[in-house]
Symmetry: C2
Subunit: 316 residues, 2 copies
């Protein structure tokens, strides 16, 4: 089968890559999405070698659970051991022995076929298009914030960034809180946010300092962390959505003095993400910049890497 | 009056330092305690110049509130503006315009007299000795953890450190949770912890990794942060009690991947600390290493700075 393989140095489209072995749910991939994490992996993140891709929608071709066959599905990306304390307590996505689709020890979805354990599969309602369904995984990561924090409706929330992740986080948090401000530079992206009632600002002003109850770091840049500490109120909460491997020194003492709570936040629950797309509470169509066939992966990745780009999809 | 003044370079005992001006509660200091923060200030922390000392007990000599005169009291160290949002919401200790006793823009208690606003004063019950009363302020900082976190009784808690702060944190957390382990090197200090039912370990073993629900950093060393991330469970909580100004790079990405919550924690509520001393729930007598007269400040500070030292008191 066709599969987009990363050998640690180079991304190549294999045409005779082995189809996933039986034992899990076998899915014929319809469409997949390029995520910031994919671009990071190409730079060395996670030292991953294998087929890339973890945002996808497809049709089940084979499964022990026969009622799944033929169904249009999306899949959670963490596959736990099902034996450890984390798995037994329902937190399989934190299993120390997990594999992660297209990220860690498990071939991903930029391919004709992909496989996942039965427990990872979610059937998609008809009201969600294929293009929208690709957003379930990153949208679930945005909903993770609301699973971790009790967001009070009268809070003032800041989001640092206006890119793919920030756009989804803003769409989710505006459901719980009306006062959401995004700090971003790109006119087109901030324009999309303004259309759905999000305030946007290019730079932090003095009056913004220490004025937000919650600040979400979604820039992926190191400077983002310093800005969160500048914006958040004493006793407030900073949500770290991007994995910042800092090369500079990070001084945590302001976080201690101001008693800030820093919350690391990663993958999230699929169910609320699927519901939000199915009911139209969250719109994502305007975030799609282009759809490329898998064969044109080189152009697709180039497009996804451009500063102004939002979501780039691949058709398998 | 006598006062121990730090000019940014040197600590000197002034004998003719001006007595605090009227307008606040005037307190004749009986006894005070040397804290790790005092030692940090001597190294440049907070760029503070003034009279040092923020842990004290004394007798009220003058006050607008006449019923306070003659009373034995302790005092909260943060003095807010009483006008800003933080002050009005009862969080005066986070007022951006606050002064802090012996730490920031307010002369401290290593002196014959000290003054504080009326709202900062707490009358001590007779059952608490002067020596014990000096511990109210640092013990309140330990109780701050229980104000910030809901500690579940069946949790497994680790404390990094066995020094002054770690000793008090351990004494407080064992009231909510029976499974508390301190990681520390000093035999005498870990011995004190064992006597009150705290488990102690010298080094982190493989089986300790990612096994604690809560990890409290109370070493004041930079390496402490890395150890917290090693010990805490996925989705667990790290409490940062010491202000770590890191010179090394801190990589926060493991905190994101494991969805750790980091909670900065500083000064705390005096009332539970006073109650715990008055009822004997927390014992501190064994933590006192020596009492020096204020005149012998040089020896006292030298003693407090020794690796094995616990609490050193000053008699005014």
């Amino acid at each position: 089968m066709k599969a987009l393989y990363f050998d640690g140095k180079k991304l190549t489209l294999h045409t005779d890559y082995p189809k996933p072995k039986p034992g899990e749910v076998l899915v014929k991939v319809t469409m997949s999405g390029i995520c910031g994490t994919d671009l990071e992996i190409l730079k060395g993140y996670m030292s991953y070698c294998g087929v890339l891709g973890h945002e996808f929608v497809g049709i089940v071709e084979d499964s022990h659970k026969k009622e799944l066959v033929g169904k249009r599905i999306v899949g959670e990306i963490n596959a736990g051991c099902k034996k450890c304390q984390s798995c037994l307590s329902g937190l399989g996505r934190h299993c120390q022995n997990r594999t992660v689709l297209g990220i860690y020890k498990r071939d991903g979805a930029f391919a004709e076929y992909v496989s996942l354990p039965e427990g990872n599969i979610h059937v998609m309602p008809d009201s969600v298009s294929d293009k929208q369904a690709v957003f379930v995984e990153p949208l679930a990561a945005a909903f993770e914030i609301t699973e971790q924090l009790h967001i009070e409706p009268n809070w003032k929330i800041a989001i640092l960034g206006d890119g793919r992740l920030a756009q989804l986080v803003a769409r989710v948090l505006r459901l719980s809180c009306h006062d959401v401000t995004c700090f971003g530079h790109h006119e087109r992206k901030t324009g999309l946010l303004q259309k759905i009632g999000i305030k946007t600002k290019i730079a932090i002003e003095n009056s913004d300092e220490h004025s937000f109850d919650v600040v979400v770091e979604a820039t992926g840049r190191e400077s983002g962390f310093l800005d969160t500490i500048r914006l958040v109120k004493p006793r407030g909460t900073v949500v770290l959505k991007s994995t910042i491997a800092s090369q500079n020194k990070i001084d945590l003492s302001p976080a201690v003095v101001n008693e800030i709570t820093l919350v690391g936040s990663r993958c999230g629950p699929f169910r609320p993400a699927i519901n939000a797309l199915a009911t139209g509470l969250v719109s994502v169509d305007e975030l799609i910049d282009a759809v490329y066939p898998l064969d044109s992966y080189a152009q697709a990745f180039e497009h996804a890497g451009k500063p102004g780009a939002l979501k780039i999809l691949l058709q398998s």
